[in-house]
């Protein structure tokens, strides 16, 4: 698993929220946790990392909830990942051989390095606006809750 469960939940929740951007004000967390089948309190703690990192804004009380802090085109997947799993999760190597790097590559570096960089660029360049467009264009109906896993 490249990302922690917390990170995946955070990404899913952000996708969910971003679908309502411009249509509703604040989305209550319990609605999200219900839709995604995630523990409400666990999700709350995850989302707090996003509000602390100015990715989301939260509002308490009736009609409260969370919403994006910025325009969807200004929020990348990478930001979410960094806010939840930290900087290292994508910078560090899959093998993590110590003391290595470009000037002292391990036997896999030539192959892995470019792949890792490409992966990083995907997350850096994909914004929530891109995601929303994909959702709309492809008329995507995701089953947010776990239901047997992905088929590849």
């Amino acid at each position: 698993m490249l990302f922690s469960k917390a990170c995946i939940y955070g990404i899913r929740a952000t996708f969910y929220v971003s679908l309502y951007q411009g249509k509703r004000e604040f989305i209550p967390i319990n609605e999200i946790s219900d839709a995604l089948g995630i523990s409400f309190h666990f999700l709350t703690k995850i989302l707090q990392k996003l509000t602390r990192n100015s990715i989301m804004i939260s509002y308490r009380g009736p009609k409260g909830g969370i919403t994006l802090a910025r325009a969807p085109e200004d929020i990348s997947i990478l930001e979410i990942i960094k806010a939840i799993d930290g900087e290292e999760s994508l910078n560090s190597c899959i093998l993590g051989l110590p003391g290595c790097g470009t000037e002292r590559p391990c036997p896999l570096h030539d192959e892995w390095g470019p792949k890792r960089d490409a992966l990083y660029q995907i997350f850096a360049n994909t914004t929530l606006k891109n995601i929303n467009e994909k959702f709309l264009i492809e008329n995507f109906r995701i089953s947010w809750k776990d239901n047997g896993g992905s088929t590849h």
Copy 2:
């Protein structure tokens, strides 16, 4: 982290052993754990997964230790990963959105799918022989022990 620590340790240990292939009989695990700076007993348990999966052969007693079960060109990195972290670690998606897949892609699938497949192929196609050649050709001197992390 794509792989568990156990998996990374297993890969490092296998690299270490394969460097002596054809030169020494069995490599004692305590030598490996010393060289790699890993707990001896923890490494022993990890390596047992490799012996159970016919990747390594172990031998008890003086002059005992472990060695590769097959020729280096017949052992891929992928096998090691599967033996330790299981099949799913590379088949499952980084995001793990449920119920999705090629026929029901999430907004990242078009980008992530090919990357994941390419990654899979690297590990499937890279054998210990490839690794050894790299080590020799590049006259690689790895510092097996952690010493501050990779520089990228």
